[in-house]
């Protein structure tokens, strides 16, 4: 029975491979992004005398490097501007964590050795959740630009209790994106009234937004007519799209990352289904995909706290400085990072902290400031934080027109 033996061997190998494929997919569910930015430097020091040591880590190389690079660039830009003004001075170091929890912990250790006093935590969620308890333990203040998971600010995720208290977020938490999306759709009924949702059921980010959205939608009178799922690297959405269409959905809510979303847009077009596509911040990046036909994304709405085409002076200055320095249009990660540095500077200024204080002393002062102050930045006005570290600000909707984001006027 040689044949059967080989077959068994083969099946065992398939199982092994599919396990590998699964673990691989959890990796790739993290926003894969352009690595061609290619800078190998893992740290940059902006030196200044008597300056606060500001640290942080993010994926500067690897699949999610587009986010890490954006945060690093924008934070450096903000540090330069703030240092030039006089007043609070910063010295800034960004370590590479490759969107890997273990490397993020190592990066944290390296930053502490360097003498970090204030931190931008991490760029991505999973590494952030791994280092947040360390920040709590060492009483070092952290404000993450883009780590949106609740696991970053709560030690007890199941009951949403026991917040770290000194880890703050500049971006919305995942569930809050669901709330904000339901809010937006229920107040803009011109987009449609019957909502279909396609979400990725093996991804926390996606299911978190989905669950909150469905809860909120029921309260706000939005009708959810269909919810379909996919997992791993599935890329056939014909069934989900046909059923959304059959159920008469005129809005398709996509709380997913841009890679599967690009396939959904194409398959919907192939079957002549044209609802209003509505995405959240994971959709940001779709226009930058190599080879993507941007006409597919025409008319796609996404909720994002920042759009580079906004006409206020703050945004205009930021965008033009960023373009001059890095030759690229900043995305919302860059904007969040820029706001983070300014918010920290504002809080330091107001608290009267000095650069010779210990990280723990600065931590106490900043926590007090952040829970009481109001901040105006690129990603929102009248931004406030609660004692758990969650941010409160109004999301902005943008629509994709002719291949660029255009802010939607209410």
């Amino acid at each position: 029975m040689k044949f059967e033996k080989m077959l068994k061997g083969g099946l065992a190998a398939v199982m092994a491979m599919s396990l590998v494929a699964c673990s691989g997919s959890s990796d790739s569910s993290a926003p894969a992004a352009d690595t061609s930015t290619g800078s190998d430097t893992t740290e940059t020091t902006v030196a200044a005398a008597g300056a606060f040591k500001l640290g942080g880590s993010g994926p500067l190389t690897g699949g999610a490097s587009v986010y890490g690079q954006a945060v690093k660039n924008a934070a450096e830009l903000a540090v330069e501007e703030i240092n030039a003004k006089g007043g609070v001075q910063f010295e800034f170091v960004m370590e590479d964590d490759e969107h890997d929890t273990e490397k993020a912990v190592n990066a944290y250790a390296a930053l502490k050795d360097w003498g970090m006093q204030v931190s931008l935590l991490t760029v991505t969620s999973a590494p952030g959740a791994a280092v947040a308890p360390l920040y709590k333990e060492d009483s070092t203040f952290a404000l993450t630009p883009s780590g949106s998971s609740l696991a970053i600010i709560y030690a007890d995720l199941i009951n949403l209790a026991d917040p770290y208290g000194n880890v703050f977020q500049m971006c919305f938490t995942d569930p809050n994106q669901g709330v904000a999306s339901a809010d937006y759709l229920s107040t803009h009924t011109n987009l449609g009234s019957k909502v279909a949702i396609i979400y990725k059921n093996d991804d926390n980010y996606s299911t978190g937004i989905y669950e909150k959205f469905v809860n909120e939608a029921a309260d706000k009178g939005l009708e959810v007519v269909y919810a379909g799922t996919f997992a791993g690297e599935d890329n056939d959405f014909n069934v989900q799209l046909s059923q959304a269409q059959a159920n008469g959905a005129d809005i398709l809510f996509l709380p997913i990352y841009y890679q599967p979303a690009s396939t959904i847009l194409k398959q919907a077009k192939d079957m002549d289904y044209a609802p209003t596509f509505f995405g959240v911040d994971g959709m940001d990046g779709i226009l930058a995909m190599e080879g993507f036909d941007t006409s597919l994304a025409e008319g796609v709405y996404l909720l994002t706290p920042f759009s580079a085409d906004a006409s206020d002076d703050l945004t205009k200055n930021f965008v033009s400085n960023y373009q001059n320095n890095y030759g690229d249009t900043p995305n919302q990660f860059a904007a969040d990072a820029y706001d983070c540095v300014y918010a920290i500077a504002q809080a330091l200024e107001a608290s009267g902290a000095t650069a010779d204080m210990s990280a723990a002393e600065i931590n106490d002062l900043l926590v007090e400031q952040f829970t009481s102050m109001t901040f105006n930045g690129l990603t929102g006005t009248d931004v406030t934080w609660n004692t758990n570290g969650e941010v409160s600000k109004a999301p902005k909707a943008v629509i994709i027109e002719n291949g660029v984001y255009v802010g939607v006027e209410d």
Partner: protein, 293 residues
Amino acid sequence: MAFLSYLINGLSLGSVYAIIALGYTMVYGIAKMLNFAHGDIMMVGAFVAFFALNSFGLPVVVSVILSMLATTCLGVVIERLAYKPLRQASSLSVLITAIGVSYFLQNGAQLLWSSSTKVFPSIIASGSLRLFGGALSISYLTLVTITACIAVMVCLTLFINKTKTGMAMRACSEDKGAATLMGINVNRIISITFAIGSGIAALAAVLLCATYPTLSPTLGSMPGIKAFTAAVFGGIGSIPGAFLGGLMLGVIEILAKAYVSTQLSDAIVFAVLIIVLLIKPTGLLGKKLSEKV
């Protein structure tokens, strides 16, 4: 009508599985090894076609031929370097080597082309054929995919049954020792098998990417596993079996998604595989071989 359109979707997905499965099944039939790098050879084919189309702006037909040539060479080179030295080794060693080659190709692709997702350009006019007064629409892409699958299947069957090389392949698959005694160069036949299987993989890659346009270095792993399942389902080693297995797998997957649950579709597909193997351990069209003592 909805059922019919799901069925056609399933056939289209199944066609792609079937073309990939042909590569698995041919290599198994002749070399008696499971080439787990097959899905990754397909991925390389997809990238070659992508760069030919996108960066060099070559016409579709030229790009497809170029990509088929590239994977054909790759298949032969892999066979020569990684598998040939292990011809006398146990099947488990060859299997592990194949998994190693698979990882080598994936990581090599990541190094060369980065892990960022690329979007495959559209190569077939979007739009659809409308039947029954518009109640049923079949996209041109689906028609092309199914036609291509049937064409590959017919050509391959003719090749195996009507040509001298085809006859030599059948002889090798039945008894390598006897084939050698009859003057057949078994090593050359195995190389040809790898060449054909890998060439077809490039075609499958283009069809796959035309339907599901995102391109990444791990592109080949899931379709590869599904196609392997299809090959086992139909009876590994049997060419019509791979065809039948591929189509059935695609149809079951889509119907399970449509009528049972999008979350359970893969579980259902593999449950059907298990049931088929319990009832017929050699797969639907597999030949029963008795162990020679």
